[in-house]
Symmetry: C2
Subunit: 233 residues, 2 copies
């Protein structure tokens, strides 16, 4: 087995393999940020990404369940609180529900997952399965698409405010909150991965997990892009 990469090389590998595969380059995202999505396309995106949002606390709980160190758990558990909130109507999932409602999506239909495309479900479930089946550091590495997400989230917020003025600005709270949170979260995750992936084998598994995660996000957009739209039927 080869020697472990030093921290700089390892971080560069993660960025070089993850960055070009990140879904900011997906044609659907490009069109979104150019203001060229129809309301129906935006709604489909929000309805399908909602399923992804609801998987996040489950995968973070799986990460907790692999962590022997109470200090790590005390830090990571914050992610579950941020997504679930402290009471009804708070937290990331509730923010996403307000985004959907701002686009005219019915809350009951959203929560029923009835508009979630099969391929989106498979991709999101594959993320949870990847985390479930990986050792802790590899599971954490899968979350490192966060390295690239603050820039995407900031661009998205600007693009939506400019191109989709019919969406209430208050509905965009999720994006605003995530810009800062993703930075904190990714700093925490990258520190942990650099410190704990101490063999070349583990480092390569971390890179593979990040690639797989990027493929999952990409596949979600592929499915949404190719699905027939209500307004096109």
């Amino acid at each position: 087995m080869s020697e472990a990469w030093d921290a700089e090389t390892f971080l560069a590998r993660l960025r070089d393999e993850g960055g070009p595969r990140y879904h900011d380059r997906h044609p659907f995202h490009v069109r979104m940020h150019e203001g060229r999505l129809t309301p129906g396309e935006l709604r489909a995106w929000v309805e399908n990404r909602y399923y992804y949002q609801t998987r996040i606390p489950l995968k973070d709980a799986l990460i907790l369940s692999k962590a022997e160190d109470p200090a790590f758990r005390r830090r990571w558990i914050r992610r579950i609180h941020e997504q679930d909130g402290t009471e009804d109507g708070t937290g990331g999932i509730a923010d996403w529900e307000r985004l959907a409602q701002g686009l005219g999506v019915d809350l009951r239909a959203l929560r029923s997952f009835s508009r979630v495309l099969p391929a989106v479900r498979f991709a999101c479930d594959a993320y949870v399965a990847l985390v479930r089946e990986s050792p802790l550091v590899v599971a954490v590495a899968a979350s490192l698409t966060e390295l690239f997400s603050p820039a995407l989230m900031a661009a998205r917020l600007a693009a939506w405010e400019r191109h989709y003025p019919w969406v209430d600005r208050a509905a965009l709270a999720y994006f605003r909150t995530r810009i800062e949170r993703a930075k904190v979260d990714s700093d925490e995750a990258i520190s942990f991965v650099l410190a704990h992936a101490t063999t070349r084998e583990l480092q390569e598994r971390c890179v593979d997990a990040l690639v797989r995660k990027a493929e999952i996000l990409w596949a979600i957009l592929d499915a949404i892009e190719r699905a027939p739209r209500e307004e096109e039927r």
Copy 2:
């Protein structure tokens, strides 16, 4: 398949199958509460049960990872905070470490799990595996040994204060805290199980899980009781 039991019958089944198997009747526990354990036996118990304590947040995280309802997760996550605390030195695991130190156990040796008996490790790991492999309501039902624990914890506190006066009373904080917490926790768990085990099949799986959990706690005491003691060597 038979009809589902009504709530009263189901609760009676849980109590009737779980109660007689609960480890308060184990000879080792009986001797503990009669003041007949040697310091070495008490230390062995505390060192081995520590491994159990450290598994609790992991199994609770697995329960979280199965729960689709954010409101349920917001309630259940409290258990992880109670065991892990809000910072170093707080929470149930830290309380257990102080108990061990009150008995003269070295903290580093405790945390290394080097004194954990193989059979104790297998039993505790079997609990985590039971939770991992069960549907949510069955996993929650496995925690229902809490129904019987406030009485045991109160008796234990009184017995230790009476029979083992050489153990600093401050070291017994874990037992004091758990008397109240176990009541709240078991009320919450039993409400969930009664509401969500809605078929006879699920109800029977819940009873089986509680029996299995009681067997696990019993097996831990069996292993500790049978192990050679330092002072006996």
